[in-house]
Amino acid sequence: MQSTAKEITDLEILSLIKETSSLDEGFRALMQKYQEKLYWHIRRMVYEHDDANDVIQNTFIKVFKSIKKFEGKSKLYTWLYRIATNEAITFINKKKRKKTASIDDDSDNGVSIQLEADPYFDGDKVQLLLQNALSKLPEKQRLVFNMRYYEEMPYRDMAEVLETSVGALKASFHHAVKKVESYLREADNY
């Protein structure tokens, strides 16, 4: 009997992908196992669904092209997260460059306008405020905050994804929390 995506282990996925005859089956299983986690990871970084959709597709195409080179030195899911993170950062930087070149720069307003216009966002006032506070953080701190606060990822795995030390990540999360707290207090909304 064929195993379902939820039951399948990373090792089984990789052995399916190794054989050309079962490559499709293996890759489909990999997608079904990790696409939701990776999508939300990307969505938190880029905010809009359409952007997240583009980035997740590029991520999986990149994964497909390089999966045979995966040596198993790290966990499969941290490797996937690393690719997704890099793709999202590349996308954000490209978008920033376009925005800098454009006259219509609304960076002072945070992401409120962007999220309110997104048909796939229906968060309440506090959630919108929190997203606004996060958008003011430096990219790396925002990434660390999202991975820890929303995804509840262990520091050790975060260190593997972001290729940095656990100590540095803890410090980064600490700074991020303090900044968010201060922003929310100023807004006097929670």
Partner: protein, 171 residues
């Protein structure tokens, strides 16, 4: 020491007010998004794989056929013909110029100088070539400026130097 603290405990220490918030974001998705995403990506990667397989040459015969087809493309043929024509024209032009130059140089030499040169270097000419060019006449070999006495003297000298064996062979 436990390095991996529970998130709630960690947030309680860092910011009690933030830890009281629900960590949900309010982001939504189109219906059946992930099913469609899998199918879309699988379709895309399969299309990429097929196109890259098609791009690879199957064999050397196919490569040769491709090369031959490329070689006979009208634009390439026209280019090659133009180059060949230019080379031919160039060769013809430069050859003509060289012939004209030699003719001009020869016209500067007087008949007397030529005759002297030929007499002095008669032994240096290829006998077969001389035969091919046709039998020389007395007029062409012996210039009119040489009188009979000089000629007789020349023949006696040649006979003396050649010896009787050579004369017998010639006769």
């Amino acid at each position: 020491m436990d390095l991996e603290k529970n998130l709630k405990d960690e947030l309680n220490e860092l910011s009690p007010s933030l830890s009281r918030l629900d960590n949900k974001e309010g982001f939504q998705l189109p219906p059946r998004y992930f099913e469609k995403l899998t199918e879309h990506v699988m379709h895309q990667v399969n299309a990429d794989t097929e196109s890259s397989t098609e791009a690879q040459p199957a064999s050397w015969q196919q490569s040769l056929a491709n090369f031959w087809t490329t070689l006979w493309q009208p634009r390439l043929v026209l280019g090659m013909a133009t180059v060949a024509l230019l080379i031919l024209a160039g060769t013809f032009f430069f050859n003509n110029q060289t012939d004209n130059d030699s003719m001009l140089a020869l016209s500067d030499i007087s008949d007397e100088e030529l005759s002297e040169y030929l007499v002095d270097h008669l032994d240096g000419f290829d006998q077969e070539l001389v035969n091919i060019m046709g039998s020389p006449t007395e007029e062409t070999l012996i210039p009119s400026s040489i009188n009979d006495d000089v000629l007789n003297e020349y023949f006696e000298t040649v006979i003396d130097e050649s010896g009787t064996n050579v004369l017998n062979e010639l006769l």
